[in-house]
Amino acid sequence: MAHRAQKGSFIAAKNRHKIARLRSEIARFEPVVESGPHVLTGFSEIDGYLQRHVAGAGLALGGVHEIIGERSGDMSAALGFADYLSKRFIHQGADEDASAACLLYGQTHASVRENGQPYGAALSHAENLIYLDGVKLPDLMWAGEEALSCEAIGCIILASVDEAPDFTFSRRLSMAARSVERPLIMALGAAAAGTASAATSQWRVKAIAHNGWHLKLTRLRISHTQNPPHQGWQVFPQAQKISSQTSADAARDSFMALPSLSSTQSASQ
C-alpha cells in the first residue's frame, strides 16, 4: 500500500514536472501579454482584480476581447458592454495616438436581423463610425483583420449572434491585434458560445434588473498558472458604480420607475 502511494506520488510528481515543462515550453513561444498599454474598465472591483492579477493592470489594448451573452436575450447586453469598452479603448488610445479615433462596427446578417442597426449612444460619435451592415462570418473576420492594420481605426467591434469564429480565425485576429496594439471586441450571442477561442479575455454578460449587467470573467490570458475567478460582478454602467446584490436598490433610481409601476406590478401578480 505504501509502495503504491509512493508510486502514485511519483507519477503525480512526474506529471507535475511534465506539465511545468510544457507550460514553460508554451510560454516560450507564446509570450504572455504584459507589455503594451492596458485599459481599466472603470468598474472599481473589476479594476481592483485586474490590478492584482495582471502585470499591465487592466485589459490589454492589443488583444481580442470576447463578450458572450449569457442567455438568448442577452445579446443586447453583450453589445452594450462592447460599446462601453470600445469607448474606453478609444479614449485611452487617443492618449497614445490622437488620430486613431474611428470605430469599425461589423455584424453578421443574423446579427442585423436580431439586433438591428446602430442607434442612440452607438451614434454619439457618428462621424467616426464605420459600419458593416450584414456580412458573412468569414468576411467579418477578414474585415476585422483588415481594419486592425489601418492606423486610423481605434477599436473594432464584431458581432455574431448564432455562430462563433473557429479557433484559427480567433488566433489570427488575436495575433494581429497584439502586433499592432489595437483592440478588437467580439460580441457573441449565447448560441455562439462554447467554441475554442484564442481571445485575450472572455466575458459572459447577463442583463440584470435596474439597468445593470452581471459580468463574469471566464478567461484571461494573464499567466499560464492563474485561473479567472468563478464569481462575477454586478455593475451599473449608468450609475458608474459597482454594486453588491444587497445594494441593488440604490441603483433603482437609474431605471426610471413610473407612477404606474405599482399598478403594473399588481396587475402582473
Binding site: 442597426q117 442612440g120 449612444a121 463610425l129 464605420i130 459600419y131 486610423a152
Partner: protein, 551 residues
C-alpha cells in the same frame, strides 16, 4: 533680344531682328457665345442671350442678325422685345461655350499641332479667340490663303463668324485679327514676314492687348493709334502706363519673343501588356494584373496624380473583351494597393473568369484621376505620433472593404433632425462624398432614453395593456412571453404632418402618433416599444411594435 536703352524711342525697324520664320494665326470668334447657342434656333432671326443682372434680365450676347436689328449687349430684355417682336432668347451658359471652344481647339489640330488659347482674359463675354502656330504647316493646305479660306468656309458652314489673321508674331496676329480695316471688311489678313510694325502702327491702341485702365488713359491723352504710343520714349511710357504697353509693342514687332501655350489634352494613364501566350489560370492573371499596376502607378506618380477609378480590359484570344473597373475612395498611386484591389475583385468574381482559350492582352487605365498631395511626414516627440495619419489610411481600408463586401454594406451613419427614430438616422456608402452630419438640436432626446441598436423595422408584438394609454403588462415578442415589472413612458412622437405638405407621402404606418415606453421584464431585459395610434381618435385597435432592446 535687342539692346535698347530705356531712353531710346521704341524702334519700329524690324529688319534689325533675325527673322524667326514663325507664322502665327490668330482666330477671333466675335460672336462665339451667341453663335454656339443657336443650335436649335432659327439662324435668320435675331437671337439674344440673357442673364439675370441686378434683378432684371439683360442681354449679355447677341448674334450678328440681332445686332443688325439694333439690339446691343447691356440692354434689358423688355427693351429688346419692344424693338424686335419675334426675338429668340436663351439663357447664357459661358461654361458650355468654353467647353465648345476647347473642343474646337482640339479640332483645329487638323491644321497644326500647336493650338493655344488667347492669354487675354478680359475679353467681352461674347467673343473668344484662339492662337495657332502655323509655322511650316500652311503648305500642306496649299498656302496660307487657301488654309484660311478653308477654315473660314468650315466655320461659316456651322454659322460661326470667324476673323483670322496670320502674322509673324502673336501680338501682330492678335491685333490684326481684331482691328485691321481689311478685317472689318471680312477678308482674312495675311501679313508678309517682317512687316509687323508697319501693319500695327495705324491700328488703335486696343490692338496691343492693353487692359481697360490703360485704354482709358490712352483715350484721356488723345492717343488713337499705336504709332502715337510708339513715338514716346520707353521710360516715359513705362512711367505713365506701367511696363505692359512697351512689352506688348516689342512682342508685336517681334523684338521680344512670345510663345503660344498649346492646350494639350490631359495626360492619359494607360498601360498595356501583350502576352506571348494565352493565359487561362486565375492566379496567373492576378499576378499579371498586379505586375501591370507597377508601370501605371509609376506614370501616376510622375504626374503627381492619384487614380480614383481604374479600368481593366482583358482581351481574349477570340477578341472578346472582359472589363472590370474599380472605384477608389481615396486617390491612390500605390501599385500594391491597386494590385490588391484587383486581386480581390478577380478572386471574388462569382462566375469566375471565362478566359476561353486564354487572355492575350491586358490594358489597365486610370480613367479618373485627381492631383495627389504629397504626404505630410509626421513629427514625433518622445516617441509619440502627433500628426494625423494620412487620409489614405482610411481610404485604403474603405477600398478594400468595398471591393470585397460591396458599397452598400460598408456604410457610415448620417443623422437628420427628425423625431421619428427611423428618419433620424440613415446610412450612406463610405464612398459617397462627405456625409452630412446635422448638428443635433439641444432638444433632441437624451441618449440614455434610446437603445444602442434599433431594429431595422419595428416588429409587431402582442400586448396586454391598460386602455387607452397605459403601459404594457405583458407582451409576446418573437414567440417569447415577457412579464413587465417596470415601465417608463409614454414618450409621445407625433407624425411629421408637414412632410405631406412638402409632397412626400407618408406610409400609413407613419401617419399615427406613437407612444414609446421603456419597459423591463422579469429577467432584467429592457425593451423599447410603442403603441401606434391614439385609441379612439386615430384608431380603434392600436397596434403595438417592438423597436429596440436596451443594452
Amino acid at each position: 533680344m535687342p539692346d535698347l536703352t530705356p531712353h531710346e524711342p521704341l524702334t519700329t525697324d524690324v529688319s534689325r531682328e533675325t527673322p524667326t520664320g514663325r507664322r502665327i494665326a490668330s482666330l477671333w470668334f466675335p460672336y462665339w457665345l451667341s453663335e454656339t447657342h443657336q443650335g436649335d434656333f432659327d439662324r435668320h432671326r435675331p437671337l439674344v442671350l440673357v442673364e439675370m443682372q441686378n434683378g432684371a434680365q439683360r442681354v449679355v450676347a447677341a448674334t450678328p442678325v440681332a445686332e443688325a436689328a439694333g439690339l446691343f449687349v447691356g440692354m434689358s430684355l423688355s427693351d429688346a422685345r419692344a424693338l424686335v417682336a419675334d426675338l429668340q432668347t436663351a439663357i447664357a451658359a459661358p461654361d458650355k461655350a468654353r467647353e465648345k471652344l476647347a473642343a474646337c481647339a482640339e479640332w483645329l489640330q487638323r491644321y497644326t499641332p500647336w493650338v493655344g488659347h488667347d492669354a487675354e482674359t478680359e475679353a467681352p463675354q461674347n467673343s473668344y479667340g484662339l492662337l495657332l502656330d502655323m509655322s511650316g504647316c500652311a503648305h500642306l493646305f496649299g498656302g496660307e490663303r487657301r488654309l484660311l479660306e478653308d477654315m473660314t468656309r468650315r466655320f461659316s458652314a456651322r454659322g460661326i463668324t470667324l476673323r483670322a489673321a496670320i502674322a509673324g508674331t502673336v501680338g501682330a496676329a492678335w491685333g490684326l485679327a481684331r482691328y485691321s480695316t481689311r478685317q472689318m471688311a471680312g477678308a482674312p489678313v495675311i501679313l508678309p514676314p517682317q512687316h509687323e510694325a508697319d501693319a500695327m502702327l495705324p491700328l488703335p491702341p486696343a490692338a496691343l492687348r492693353l487692359n481697360a485702365h490703360q485704354l482709358a488713359l490712352c483715350q484721356k491723352l488723345g492717343l488713337t493709334s499705336v504709332a502715337q504710343l510708339a513715338a514716346f520714349e520707353r521710360a516715359a511710357l513705362t512711367r505713365r502706363f506701367g511696363p505692359l504697353p512697351v512689352l506688348r509693342m516689342e512682342q508685336a514687332f517681334g523684338q521680344v519673343g512670345e510663345a503660344v501655350n498649346p492646350c494639350l489634352p490631359p495626360p492619359q494613364f494607360l498601360v498595356q501588356r501583350l502576352l506571348p501566350q494565352g493565359v487561362t489560370q486565375l492566379p496567373a492573371i492576378v499576378t499579371l494584373v498586379e505586375q501591370i499596376c507597377q508601370p501605371l502607378a509609376a506614370q501616376l506618380q510622375d504626374a503627381g496624380q492619384g487614380a480614383q477609378r481604374l479600368d481593366l480590359a482583358m482581351t481574349r484570344s477570340d477578341n472578346a473583351v472582359l472589363a472590370l473597373s474599380v472605384k477608389l475612395a481615396h486617390p491612390s498611386a500605390s501599385p500594391r494597393h491597386m494590385g490588391r484591389l484587383f486581386a480581390e475583385r478577380l478572386e471574388r468574381l462569382k462566375s469566375g473568369i471565362d478566359a476561353g482559350f486564354g487572355i492575350e492582352k491586358l490594358v489597365l487605365g486610370a480613367s479618373q484621376t485627381t492631383p495627389l498631395a504629397p504626404p505630410q511626414t509626421a513629427m514625433g516627440l518622445h516617441g509619440r505620433r502627433h500628426a494625423p495619419p494620412p487620409a489614405s489610411a482610411l481610404g485604403h481600408l474603405f477600398d478594400r472593404l468595398v471591393s470585397r463586401l460591396g458599397a452598400k454594406t460598408v456604410v457610415r451613419p448620417v443623422t437628420h433632425a427628425s423625431y421619428v427614430p427611423e428618419r433620424a438616422v440613415g446610412f450612406v456608402s463610405v464612398l459617397a462624398q462627405a456625409p452630412r452630419i446635422e448638428t443635433i438640436p439641444p432638444e433632441a432626446p437624451a441618449l440614455k432614453t434610446r437603445p444602442l441598436f434599433m431594429l431595422c423595422a419595428a416588429e409587431p408584438i402582442e400586448v396586454i395593456a391598460e386602455i387607452p394609454e397605459g403601459a404594457p403588462y405583458r407582451f409576446r415578442w418573437r414567440r417569447v412571453l415577457h412579464e413587465v415589472v417596470a415601465a417608463h413612458g409614454p414618450e409621445r412622437i407625433s407624425p411629421e404632418w408637414w412632410q405631406e405638405i412638402f409632397g412626400q407621402s407618408l406610409d400609413s404606418h407613419n401617419r399615427q402618433t406613437r407612444d414609446y415606453f421603456r419597459v423591463e421584464d422579469t429577467h432584467g431585459h429592457r425593451f423599447w416599444l410603442y403603441r401606434g395610434g391614439l385609441y379612439g381618435r386615430e384608431t380603434q385597435r392600436p397596434q403595438w411594435f417592438m423597436h429596440g432592446v436596451f443594452s
